[in-house]
Amino acid sequence: MRYVDEFRDPELITKASDEIRRLADTGKHYRIMEVCGGHTHAIYRFGLKDVLPENIELIHGPGCPVCVLPMGRIDDGLAVAKSADVIFAAFGDMMRVPGAHGSPFEHKARGTDVRIVYSPADALQLARKNPEKHVMFFAIGFETTAPSTALTLMRAKAEDIRNFSVFCNHVTIIPAIRAILDSPDMRLDGFIGPGHVSTVIGCRPYEWIAQNEGKPVVTSGFEPLDLLQSIVMLLRQLRAGEARVENQYKRVVPWEGNRAALKAMAEVFQLRPYFEWRGLGFISQSALKIRDEYASWDAEQRFPIPNTRVTDPKAAQCGEVLKGVLKPAQCKLFGKECTPEHPIGALMVSTEGSCAAYYHYEHRKTAAMVETISSVA
């Protein structure tokens, strides 16, 4: 119960933890996937594993957009910026992410015009301010950021700003969940559904998981108590032999999602036939492409794209970790060749990746413990 005492209501945490112990059948082993990288970060930060019984295992899902972006896309984006002399604008999260030929920061040092923006709207503003230059926004993210990119493109079109384009890497969460469920070495009992993605898509898109796959889904908030309550809700369903979609995060997530955001996405994007996910491989209809009506603002249609393919080293077992077959520390490269400072695999790239989260909170704790023990000895 490392961090729980910092929390406002330790009593409620204890209550929820007791309820989980009461509901969990001691003869069973439960495997629950939290889909969202924000949840993964919170679970490690709050040491939630310490308040859960041993037979409840949390599997960390694919919901970290920086982690699942194939390296080759970064190389492609930077190649366009270099050869076409355009400003490469991206979120700060992207700046240290390595492509095969270096990260955006390293390209900046070599003379490419790379800028950090905090919003796609800022990238458009950059284009307004630099009419003599072309600004390409390197867009990444799930449904939390895709509507903002969509609205920005609608503004660019309405104002007819011609020196702006988007290199679109937006992905959608549902096909990734489907790919994980389809994988033969996967056994899951239920899902903690993403919180902020669900503010956009609502709870309906998860219904097939309950109806067709027979697995309960509970969309959850990010606080320790939210996550524990979501696990209670999942266990109650499992105990009753039910599979439904429930919303624990009602205070923020409307069941129907955000219609204006969904409309903007539908206006600007269409599904790609397939897209590569780092660690998971190609998943059909899992990513967004800019519609032909917006072709003038689509960097992939405006500029020649090298279509770089980079395969991760075979020794990196990201796919197995993503599917919960291996724990981060069980990968051969973990903490040795692959660290947050020098990520080799996808999941070490961002703090929301399960390997990086594990490294920051668990690995360091263990290492510190070893040091204390050896200094005492």
């Binding site: 990288g37 905090y118 709207a121 503004r155």
Partner: protein, 123 residues
């Protein structure tokens, strides 16, 4: 990028340069910046209401209590500074007139060609 930042609407700013005029000023722990309210046009927040912001766009209305809890959560996750840096970084109100700000008048510092909010030097 994945952070949801709670902000209080302090004013609504119709901006003729923007489609549907959906900008608003929010305050996040004392920092005021413009954000885009276009994704809430069906349920526009009023001054004094709270929203959750992702990458410069308000995504959903929340209660004041939930806003406080979200800020507390960011603090506990060690992401408050990053959140403030993100909000400071929103560039929508720096150049309302679309003219680059004069040197010295900008809330941003330029270092190595990058623009950073002042007081937050690059790592």
């Amino acid at each position: 990028m994945c952070l949801a930042i709670p902000g209080k609407i302090v004013s609504l700013n119709p901006d003729p340069m923007h489609l549907e005029a959906c900008l608003g000023t929010v305050e996040v722990t004392g920092v005021r910046r413009k954000v885009d309210l276009g994704l809430l046009k069906d349920d526009m927040p009023a001054v004094g209401e709270w929203v959750l912001i992702h990458v410069g766009f308000a995504m959903t209305k929340i209660s004041e209590q939930d806003a406080m809890e979200q800020m507390h959560l960011l603090t506990m996750l060690g992401e408050t500074e990053q959140a403030i840096a993100e909000v400071r970084g929103y560039g929508l109100d720096v150049n309302d007139d679309h003219v680059p700000a004069r040197a010295g008048s900008s809330p941003y510092a330029v270092s190595d060609g990058f623009v950073f909010p002042k007081g937050l030097p690059p790592e």
